[in-house]
């Protein structure tokens, strides 16, 4: 069996281009990559053509050496059809992605981010606690200051978790308001009727003072600092139970 070098080179180039495009984040580029890759592979299939034996529909007196092997062509045809269908689907999906999120970029998986963040959170909290205990064991003095620093650091961490949760919530639900969806407003904000831009997630005040819509979404506060929940009474549990592995979710109002 002989292989045409030009076919192989063309296939190699197409495959390289296609694979590179597949590695990008934009669905449109991925779509182009899929098309190019599909063509490259079809060339490879055609390059595998050889003398395979008798084809079924030949007339008896035909010279077999001059007839191309039909099977790879049939395979390539099948592959072309399938690639076409997949391309159509990808196109529809890129369009839908653009419709829903305003771009066709593929974002990170929120759960993955959450797990990574939780590990970081636990690490740093443990570190802080160790340092605090060391300091306490070392000298009895400077207790209040240490404690204040410890609390401040813990607060920072919690804020980080809240932001991450807001990010996750944004990814999860679409408000129906295109403006909010595109610009990524915090779902809590539009739930409360606040417009975009009045506060950003990072600038929110720590112990939320009397949220109008009822339950506070800051789980650590609801769990550990029961005094700072003036907006809530018995019937209104937090909507969003904490992911805090410290177990704040089990304590509560009722």
């Amino acid at each position: 069996m002989t292989v045409s070098l030009s076919l192989l080179v063309a296939a190699a180039v197409l495959n390289a281009v296609g694979a590179t495009l597949l590695l990008t984040r934009s669905l449109t580029r991925i779509l182009l990559g899929a098309v190019v890759l599909g063509n490259g592979v079809n060339l490879l299939v055609l390059a595998s053509t050889g003398n395979a034996g008798d084809a079924p529909l030949l007339y008896p007196h035909i010279i077999r050496n001059r007839v191309t092997d039909p099977l790879p062509q049939a395979i390539a045809l099948t592959a072309i059809v399938i690639t076409l269908a997949t391309t159509a689907f990808l196109l529809a999906m890129a369009y839908r992605s653009h419709q829903v999120t305003g771009s066709d970029e593929i974002s990170d998986d929120t759960e993955d981010r959450l797990v990574a963040l939780r590990a970081e959170f636990l690490d740093r909290r443990g570190e802080l606690r160790d340092r605090y205990r060391e300091a306490r064991a070392g000298d009895g003095g400077a207790d209040a200051e240490q404690r204040a620093r410890y609390r401040a650091a813990r607060k920072r961490l919690r804020r980080r978790v809240r932001e991450e949760r807001a990010y996750q919530a944004r990814a999860n639900d679409v408000s129906g308001n295109l403006w909010n969806d595109i610009l990524g407003a915090d779902p809590e904000d539009y739930r409360e009727g606040r417009e975009l831009g009045s506060t950003d997630a990072a600038g929110r005040p720590g112990p939320a003072p009397a949220r109008i819509a009822g339950p506070s979404n800051d789980p650590e506060e609801t769990g550990r600092e029961p005094d700072s929940r003036p907006g809530e009474d018995s019937g209104h549990p937090p909507p969003d139970q904490p992911d805090d592995p410290g177990g704040a979710g089990t304590e509560g109002t009722s």
């Binding site: 689907f89 990808l90 999906m93 739930r191 979710g249 509560g252």
Partner: protein, 578 residues
Amino acid sequence: MNALVPLPVLLPLCVTGLKLAIGPRLHRLQRFISIAVLGAVLVLSVLLMVAADRHGPLSVHLGDFAPPVGITLVADRLAGLMLTVSSAVTLLVLVYSLGQGMADRDDQAPVGVFHPAYLILVAGVSCTFLAGDLVNLYVGFEIMLVASFVLLTIGGTATRVRAGSTYVIISLFSSVLFLVAIAMTYAVAGTVNLAQLAQRLQEVPLGVRTLLEAMLLTVFAIKAAVFPLAAWLPDSYPTAPAPVTAVFAGLLTKVGVYSMLRTQTLLFPGHRLGDLLMLAALASMVVGILGAVAQTDLKRVLSFTLISHIGYMVFGIALAGHGSISGAIVYVADHITVQTTLFLVAGLIERRDGTTELTRLGGLARAAPLLAVLFFVPAMNLAGIPPLSGFIGKLGLMRAGIDAGGAWAWALVAGSAATSLLTLYVMAKVWNLAFWRDAPPGAEEEGVVLESAEDDEPGDDEEGDEAGDEEEGAATGPPEPTGSGRAAGSGKAAGSGEPTGAGSDLPVPAGAVVAAGFLGQSITTTRRLPWPMLAATGAAVALGLSYTVLGGPLTTFTQAAATELLARTPYIEAVLGR
């Protein structure tokens, strides 16, 4: 009898055409047709399995073209068993999804999109099980994948499109690799027929053969989600609707495992990549279960245990002994059922409490004892607790590993024991968090977000929004604007022991209920689970238990199947007719 072989593929495909012609009308007829077709496929599969067991492999050359050119379909014991298990599971999942659709009074979408896509998926799965040549295997994969794209992104919400993109791109890439592998195989052997390849590959130089083996293994490992190639699975499966996730988790990965089993035994006996496969199996088991330990969402936990337990099957394939192949087949059959059941239960939990996030669940054992039983049995089965069938599969595999000896086999036996214990730990964790501990405060009040109400009934959503706004406007004090919206649920604020909201089956305006939180969706506060869903899940549990009851015949059957696979001649003779 041979004429029956193509029917599990053709029947769903033809009926899909019929259903598309009927269009979104005659819902009752359409439901009946779907169930009837899958029932017929189940009957056919059982017939094929019994026939293959009695008379050896059945094969058909479509159009009577001889092997190198025509399409060959083969049903041997392995294919028959896989077909039977898969069609039983797909039938149950269909009943479950019908129950869900009927309970949501959501007639349009399932019949219009879900059923045709689902039937095509079934056809694709049957096609891969019956395929007698590589190209047909590829086509079967593609039929299945295209249907699964539609099912995974059904509704087209942002999360599903995101999850779908990962899945589509990975599938596309693995298909391309598969095509390359097919081209290489054809260039080497001049045929893609499995039986002919089995004969011709013996004469191919060892290096080339190993290359082909590596290519095919890579492709199937992507499909089966074996560890280094499994990262796509937990990102894409959990967002789909519960029945879809269930059937994907149960079947699609096992199709990859089946293809591995088929090609490794038939094309590459005494293969050289056994050690590599064992390493992959060990890594899958350990990394997968550690991932499951780290997760807090039930669906994601189950996705990671799925990856982990694929490792067991790869372990059996890698050892390639009689006992290990038999054990792997038992494990595949068992795992299809168990994993599907667990995802169905996760769907029920999601339906009841609006979430599968374990940190927000609790008290289900008291509130919904039936659900607890339905979860407990398959969970213990997955962990391999002795009377259940997961134990039979694991025991067979471990015995085979010990018999085989050698450092790798011992490492794998140790790894699989550790994985089994960790699975038990994960399942106990889920049980403790979701079922055993007290309900978290407020959980009783939250309504159930009906999944299909998001997109299909825009009119209702609009009304819901407006009603919600009015209600908020009418409410008196600023601290409690949501009180009226919660009137239905507030009665049971204190009683965590109250099991189900009897008869509170009313749709409640969406915007008003902050507890469920998603704007623009209609929300009902029912906590009753529709009986078809419960019945289907219960039947799946019963199917899992039946493997225990039928453990003896099942093991005898799989041992015969393993003998047949390893002997190779029955398959080759059935196809090439000698």
